[in-house]
Amino acid sequence: MTFLKKLLIGVAAITLLGVTLPCRAETPKDILVIANRIDDITTLDPAQSFEFAGSDLIRNVYGKLVNFDPAALEKGYQPDLAESWSVSGDGKTITFKMRPGVTFHSGNPLTAADAVFSLQRAVKLNKTPAFILTQFGFTPENVEETIKQLDKMTFSITTDKKYATSFVLNCLTATIGAIVDKKTVLAHEKNGDLGNDWLKTHSAGSGAYSVVNWKPNESYTLKVNPDFYPSTPAMKKVIVRHIQESATQRLLLEKGDIDIARNLNPQDIAAISTNRELAVDSDLRGRIMYISMNQKDPILSRPRVIKALKYLIDYKGMQDSFLKGQYTIHQAFLPMTYLGAIDDKPYSLNVAKAKALLRDAGVGDGFEVRINVRDAQERIEIAQSLQNTFAQAGIKINIEVGTGKQTLAVYRAREHQIYVGSWGPDYPDPNTNAATFAYNPDNSDEAKATGLLAWRNSWPLPEMSKATKAAVEETDRSKRAAMYKAIQREHQERSPFAIMFQKIEQTGRRANVKGLNIGAAITAVSYWPVTK
């Protein structure tokens, strides 16, 4: 039996191995460690980046001409690398004066040449987010004339027609408005790519931090810029790790191996809320959740049916149950904190009223309808809630679940009946949502305006399209806000969109970590005010 005994001892020894290896917790005082889902980052080039995690990184690495102050987001854009600006009489030319004494991470001084280069570069590269700038009439061909340097510290941009100054400046706060270090970037140019390839994985900015490294789907590390012009940030290093799972993020946070967890689900938020060492912050974000009805459908295009469906949604029930802490009721297309946002909530679940409307519309006996929804938990639950409340008025919903891409393909091809959608604003100006929810100049199939939600739902709206267009040209800020309010009220009344919720983001943090601002609905996260 000695052989068996030896075996048994071997098994026991191996099982015990690996049991006692100590490790330390607590992050150092001047290093900020964050868990976040960063697998959406595909590039660090501000002229190309168009994802959440990417704009988080870029906001902390690059300065912009005008920017949101994390301590006072509600004030709107403030001077950043541009110290001041003036607008010409015809409203088409804005002249910027650059802030003196600012240097890039490389040590190169920042001048108007860098600003001109950065904006021209973004237009010339013409990557995904380029539309934010090219909507003002800049093209790769004319950009040398329309964006030009006047002297060492001043330059001007000239738009193709008069636009609201607030519209132009709001757009310059977007990621694509980041000012890059011309000399450094050009030193890494390859085959006329304006440094695009190099900037995918490196940084050349003047912001609070510079990029040490980025490992896709794994982590990125930033190190402090001691010469950051407002003041040197307290955190010398920021490390963001890609942690997919909420439960894993929570464990790391509880153990003190990370300072901030950005993707905790409601259960984990509830569980840590009693922990005194931890705190939870809630912020409104820009994403809104809606359902829309394809106007090609003979039944769904009846105005009374549209209205009835808006009364068949259990907004409150969803908000208070499975969307708790994740979404709040919001029924207009501009997220709160945007210029011109309204808080009107005209709709609530009212089955009797809906039934009367359906009867008047000639479908009192109900009908069957297909609803397309992507395979995300919360959206499927929304579809199920709709299935339940619609059934009370005799409408039978067939839920068709697909991957995000499949569902979107159906939507873009205008082949859906009802679509459960979500929309995040592209840039911090009300036009970003107005121009998609309330703008559709050509409703024909041939127009293929797949970027416009109104087009995707085959909703022709000539009058409202004009109003939306007029709003981007109104230079008076408060008049402009009033115009958006009016458009949204009409939109609530008759559009085939039932806007339901605005996103809330809950962030778990160690109680000693102060000053993190995730940017509300309007911008991205700021690491530089953080202390601990």
Binding site: L4, L21, T42, F131, K215, N217, I239, A247, T248, D257
Partner: protein, 339 residues
């Protein structure tokens, strides 16, 4: 003799080539007929028509399918898997980063699995029907049927969260990351090469739980297979002969019965190892382990076909290589194939 051997090598190579081409073709076709738009996943929803068209041409999607496939084969022959849409880096570079992580984890898991699973199976067979056998069976069944997701989280909660015995999710504590030069991409080996025992200990404290879990899963399989192989051998007449000759029980089991189990066991172990090398998506997700499983899954969900095809080639190669390797081991252990 030489000609024969040369023929065998050619045969093997040909099989590998046909298998790989077939694998690539099927994956490629599935990738292309999927009802999703790979261009959209690069340019995003709000891109202008011109931006979209430019990306469409850049990706060669305007060419016929067969041409696209031939281009793809030509590039692979050159070791060029193209660029990943998601990471904006060459897929080859990505694979060189994620595969060592999986290799390290899977190897560790298999080693532990074999070291425990094989003895467990042998004991269970020898002690057939006793409480030892039942205990082994229950242990194996639990390992095989428990969801990795659940058991992984519980493991983390207990050993990392409560007891603090092991490192948390990730391959290293954040402060050790990038402290040793990446030679093989496998942290335990790199840290030994650099002679940095702190990093080695930290890496070990991080890998022990995920590897232990994978090991538990594979040991369940390995021990059950070992047991049945052993039982079969123990009922053979030569075992009785050996016992009648007066050999000790230990010698009977080790030298006679187990020696004959080795060959089929190698196949079982190789398959289980290959399975782990595909990357375990759930384990990788829970332990924030940047391995090939989550790489391929993320790529698949985003229609990042270059990355998916690249990953498939690697997984395919792993299977083929392990098969060849286990064939070689067969020859080594099976006296009938020796001269």
């Amino acid at each position: 003799m030489v000609v024969q051997r040369f023929g065998a090598v050619c045969n093997t190579l040909l099989t590998v080539l046909i298998t790989m081409t077939g694998l690539l073709f099927v994956t490629f076709i599935i990738g292309r007929v999927m009802p999703i738009d790979p261009v959209l996943s690069i340019v995003g929803e709000s891109a202008s028509r011109a931006t979209y068209e430019a990306a469409y041409h850049e990706m060669g999607l305007d060419k016929p399918l067969l041409v696209q496939f031939l281009y793809f084969l030509r590039d692979i022959a050159r070791g060029d898997f193209g660029e990943s849409l998601l990471t904006a880096r060459p897929v080859f570079e990505d694979l060189m980063r994620v595969f060592p992580a999986t290799l390290e984890l899977a190897t560790m898991g298999t080693v532990i699995g074999v070291l425990i699973g094989v003895p467990l199976g042998v004991i269970a067979a020898v002690k057939q029907g006793t409480w030892v056998d039942h205990l082994a069976r229950i242990t194996a069944l639990i390992g095989y049927s428990m969801p990795v997701f659940w058991i992984g989280l519980i493991g983390l909660l207990v050993f990392y969260g409560k007891l603090g015995w092991i490192g948390g999710p990730g391959r290293l504590d954040i402060f050790y990351v990038d402290t040793v030069p990446a030679v093989t991409g496998m942290i335990l080996i790199d840290s030994l090469l650099a002679g940095d025992m702190d990093v080695f200990a930290n890496g070990l404290s991080h890998i022990v739980l995920p590897a232990g879990l994978l090991a538990y899963y594979s040991l369940a399989y390995i021990s059950r297979m070992t047991r049945s192989f052993m039982l079969e051998q123990l009922q053979q007449e030569y075992i009785i002969t050996a016992r009648v000759k007066g050999l000790s029980e230990s010698a009977v089991i080790r030298r006679h019965a187990f020696a004959n189990v080795r060959v089929p066991l190698i196949t079982v172990i190789a398959l289980s190892y290959a399975g782990l090398l595909e990357g375990s998506v759930l384990t990788e997700t829970i332990f924030a382990w940047p391995g090939i499983g989550s790489y391929i899954t993320t790529a698949l969900l985003s229609a990042d076909m270059n990355a998916v095809l690249g990953g498939t080639v690697v997984v395919g190669l792993v299977f083929v290589c392990l098969n060849i390797f286990s064939d070689l081991l067969h020859r080594f252990f099976d006296p009938r194939t020796k001269q």
